[in-house]
Amino acid sequence: MNLAQGVQVVSLGLLSLMVLGAALGVVLANNIVYSAFLLGGVFISISGLYILLNAGFVATAQILIYVGAVNVLILFAIMLVNKREDFAPISSAWIRKGVTGLVCIGLFALLSTMVLTTPWLIASIPASGEQATLLIGEHLFSDFLLPFELASVLLLIALIGAIILARRELIVNEPASGVDAGLMLPERPREGVAVGSDP
């Protein structure tokens, strides 16, 4: 084993430990803020695994998107609504936890047997290394063009939806035209302007 291989093995071990430890922390930590920060640790460690796989672009994108955007947004949301509420302790909560733990261990055992016994087909294409960025771009504009473009629709509609959910609407307590106030749906009208009626 030469220097490079040694470094790789050690980094793989360290990164795997970090992923596992941080992921367990996310699930088990009582403080939700800790969970959120540890989630960032999971993302960073996974990006390290990508680097070990020579996927530099994916690693960088992982940091940018998951750590820089997703995790920051999660933290943001937690800190904006950081309502300290004492939950009443559930009686015999350990049974639930135990059952959950058992189910998870069972699932883990099943999946690991699967991973070990399945004859995986290894792709014959050589690793692209530094050319990966270029190749990803070519794929996005040839055989993955449709999902790439469809993702833009998805993002547009997610944006519109987020704005709808977040915007403050002017509430006028005035029923829409032609309806008695008693016969309203539970939702309140936004304004008096109705579709098709004169403004």
Binding site: L3, V33, L52, T60, L75, M79, E130, Q131, T133
Partner: protein, 385 residues
Amino acid sequence: MSKSRHLLSGTDKMNSGINLQGSFIDFFQGLGLPYGTVKLLWLPLPMLLLLLGATVGVLVVVWLERKISAAAQQRIGPEYAGPLGVLQPVADGLKLLVKEDIIPANSDPVLFTLGPMIVVIPVFLSYLIVPFGQNLVLTNIGTGVFLWIALSSVAPIGLLMSGYSSNNKYSLLGGLRAAAQSLSYEVPLALAVLAVVMMSNSLSTIDIIEQQSGYGIFGWNIWRQPVGFLIFWIAALAECERLPFDLPEAEEELVAGYQTEYAGMKFALFYLGSYVNLVLSALLVAVLYLGGWDFPIPIDPILQLLGIDSNVPWVQLITASLGITMTLLKAYFLVFLAILIRWTVPRVRIDQLLDLGWKFLLPIALVNLLLTAGLKLAFPVAFGG
């Protein structure tokens, strides 16, 4: 980064300049040491160099900041510590080092300690991609500027962490503001970089500079990307939380933002981080828009005219030092601009800040990107076909 080439590693390019790593390894192998051991000896050197270089750069900037601020206010500034007060930043640093390290009551000590580290580490890491010459770069990795953008997006986590853990409302607000600001300005910043990347067909900083070289000052990207340059500079100032965008630590509103409860070495880390980041941003502006190590007058034709072979060691030495000098000069000119802006422009309000980012810079950056793509198709010669 197993694949990445390390500092000064020999590339096969013609204009390879000096190759420090190669010479180092050759020298020690000549002494009879095995290759692996020499490599191991070499590895820490670039890392140390990075830390030292960045720290010295910060000391210079702090001194500049004090002197230029003083000049802007018609004061003298530091003058007793060393000639012209150049040792003042060192004294500041020593003071912070030996100060008592206070962790406030009811705070979260672990997060409180981790916060400043998470802010500082990505900034230092980003120096990996800053080139000072053809081979004078720590790693010429393929993702180059993209790595910098990604790393700079990690800092808000540290800010949120320190804001949250300080158990202080000003800190929390400051942390939240910092995160919001960083998220908002990352988008136009990345779009401005994308336009440059589109012209050079590569994310690597080396390729970006090479694409600008050859025509001296007229080849620099600032002429082809004037709007992109402005967007980048504004967004970079916002990312560094410099005035007029220093809302997260606006002292009139938030005492000192997320830094309020920090003292001693942890405060020093924040302080260091913000200045390292400023120098880094300036360096990247120089790389992306001002031709990096490129001299304003093209050198190769002159050498040819004089009949000098550019591979002779002493010529290589001169061009390399010229490259380093040019990069630093450009960067420090931009730092000077930033300091001048600090004392001439009033601070914006938080809503103005977000409006500027989302409603002004973002659309303009998008239009700039679109225009660049169009120009690239129309004039492939000038805009990198």
